[in-house]
Symmetry: none
Subunit: 417 residues, 2 copies
Amino acid sequence: MSAEIICVGTELLLGDILNSNARYLAQQLANLGIAHYHQSVVGDNPGRIQQTMQVAIDRQAKILIFTGGLGPTPDDLTTATIADFFQTPLIEHAAVVADIEQKYAQRGRTMTPSNRRQALQPQGAEILPNPLGTAPGMMWQPQPGLIVLTFPGVPREMYRMWQDSAIPYLCANGYGQEQIFSTSLRFWGVSESALAEKVDRFIQMSDPMVAPYAGQGEVRLRVSTRATDAHTAARKIDPIAAEIMAIGGSHFYGQDDDNLSKVIGKLLIAKGQTLSVAESCTGGVLGAMLTDVPGSSAYFRGGVMAYANEVKTHLLKVDSQLILDRGAVSSQVAEQMALGVRTQLATDWGIGITGIAGPGGGTPEKPVGLVYIGLAAPDGTVSSMEYRLSTHFDRELIRQMSAKQALDLLRQKLLNQ
Amino acid sequence: MSAEIICVGTELLLGDILNSNARYLAQQLANLGIAHYHQSVVGDNPGRIQQTMQVAIDRQAKILIFTGGLGPTPDDLTTATIADFFQTPLIEHAAVVADIEQKYAQRGRTMTPSNRRQALQPQGAEILPNPLGTAPGMMWQPQPGLIVLTFPGVPREMYRMWQDSAIPYLCANGYGQEQIFSTSLRFWGVSESALAEKVDRFIQMSDPMVAPYAGQGEVRLRVSTRATDAHTAARKIDPIAAEIMAIGGSHFYGQDDDNLSKVIGKLLIAKGQTLSVAESCTGGVLGAMLTDVPGSSAYFRGGVMAYANEVKTHLLKVDSQLILDRGAVSSQVAEQMALGVRTQLATDWGIGITGIAGPGGGTPEKPVGLVYIGLAAPDGTVSSMEYRLSTHFDRELIRQMSAKQALDLLRQKLLNQ
């Protein structure tokens, strides 16, 4: 009862893109407890696609999952090739034509004949709806005991279609009776090795399994187990998760889909407080993170991207003499930026960030990766921290990590308020 | 004369890691002009690895490239499985044993019997040295006309081994005489299908090849050809690229690594002009895009994240009565935001964005995905556009595409100035 993933696309064979779809589907199959021994990548070529299908069927695969090649261009051949393999005619679905037409109309565009090809599916196949794009997939059993699923190559469309339609379809067809359940515990301000040592006795356990992952300054511990239902899984996972959270202390900031922006939002809403930000080196990255959270207008009032020094002095009332004396990248300027934005935007909290994101602009005294974060509090006091990132980090990572560190500084203050 | 990539590792089948090795090797094969039609992923299982090899050989593959499964643990089976497939005994290489011993000693560790397994290679295989790790690979011709290469799964070790040893080996064996050269042409404001139809006669050509790719509102056309050197390739690619650029008209914005922020930067620097931005629904996304470009401080002075209406009126001097009359999401407010930020930050250009990023906040008259972009020009005039995104787009995509559309609006004005 195993599944094979077949990713179709010349861009994969040319190395133009990373195969993130295969990884996602592999994780999802593992979660559903569906055996999965082979993945293939093949170009937009009917003969090679069909030969790959034959190999998979010869290996007794019971689920064939295709990604890519569902679009409107002539090199999108996946649907027609699958139909031909099973000697089944293509049928146009009127509802899909209407859906494509409507989606194009919404964007002020007209459906072309080539777009209409996306409404063709093999006779007998169910439509796998695509809420986020124009190319639907199929859910089909072309012969007894064999399921064929197709998805577009665009990852976000594929993820949504998998969650909304493919999982229920597979479960309805007898798969996924025992699944992997897991929770991810999220930590900031602690290294992977330091955290792993602290929770080593849990990492040594076999059920639930505890595994560390690290990236972009954050560490996650994934606690997972296999069970028939969420309740049984929770009975195994929750006590271990609680112990690990306690060990993590204030480094532990959230769980699963949490991120620092969301956690900040919850804390500010609970206290009825507001926030504004003043960004120099991050130039909008912190604001973008905060406003990425739906509903953030309840506590985030806005901010100033103070890239030029004149913007710092004019809009944030930073003392121009201070910039001359201490430099724009200094703890004093970070503090004045935080105070200035808090006053100008009339918020409870104000954050100021100034630093050297690189690749140019570093000096021996103030190297690339040196960042100062100021935090103005509801009582009008201000504090700051120096944050030193590796000089080997690139501009994007320095900006991302600086913004997250600023959020964590605020989180710690909110917790201790 | 085609190559197949066979990645071995249960962690790939569980989705624990992205298959970046396959992408790297695919790019390298494309660069060397070695045909590559299939990639496979298989677990650490001798039977399945051998079956995958047989399929590749049946498909007339002349180069089999393995990654993964060369380590010292019991589930590292790749080398022994390949030797067994060709019924060849394993031989211990004394020089490799010495190398492993020395590398362990350097790290203060002692070589164990299981580490010693890494010195075993099939009789007749050449060692593929691993300067960065303990597991070497092999370069082997087990039968006439068939090359087998093995690499460890650790990307940085693999990359180095490929560059240092595999490329010279392949070239010495007659590969790499012709390589693929390509350029990507980038377009904004046109759908993949509309553009593909316009350039259909190029897409139908076989040399150079023209292939479309789409994502996040952008379309790319990749023009590629096979040639012995860059000069010969350019003679084939450049005239086609020029014709396509002309057909694309003002939708064409850049080439290869360009993005809209970089193109805007080049245009502003050429004109010696400056820019500021006022962001409501994008809340920093546009500023973050602009400041992601190193050296952007030469033309980007900063901006205001005007999330709350009071920030629009106080910092940007938007008329509060106008917000009451027309709503914060209106062309008039977008224009006043653009004018306000241009004046406050004393820049040549000012951009204002206001819209409904969702998922909440939409109404029948002003649905999620409705965005207004204002642009204040150096002569003090202001204009605006309405940008309607699919109501099915998520918040992140709406914000990203709105910011890019704002950049494109400025780009068009800069070109026509």
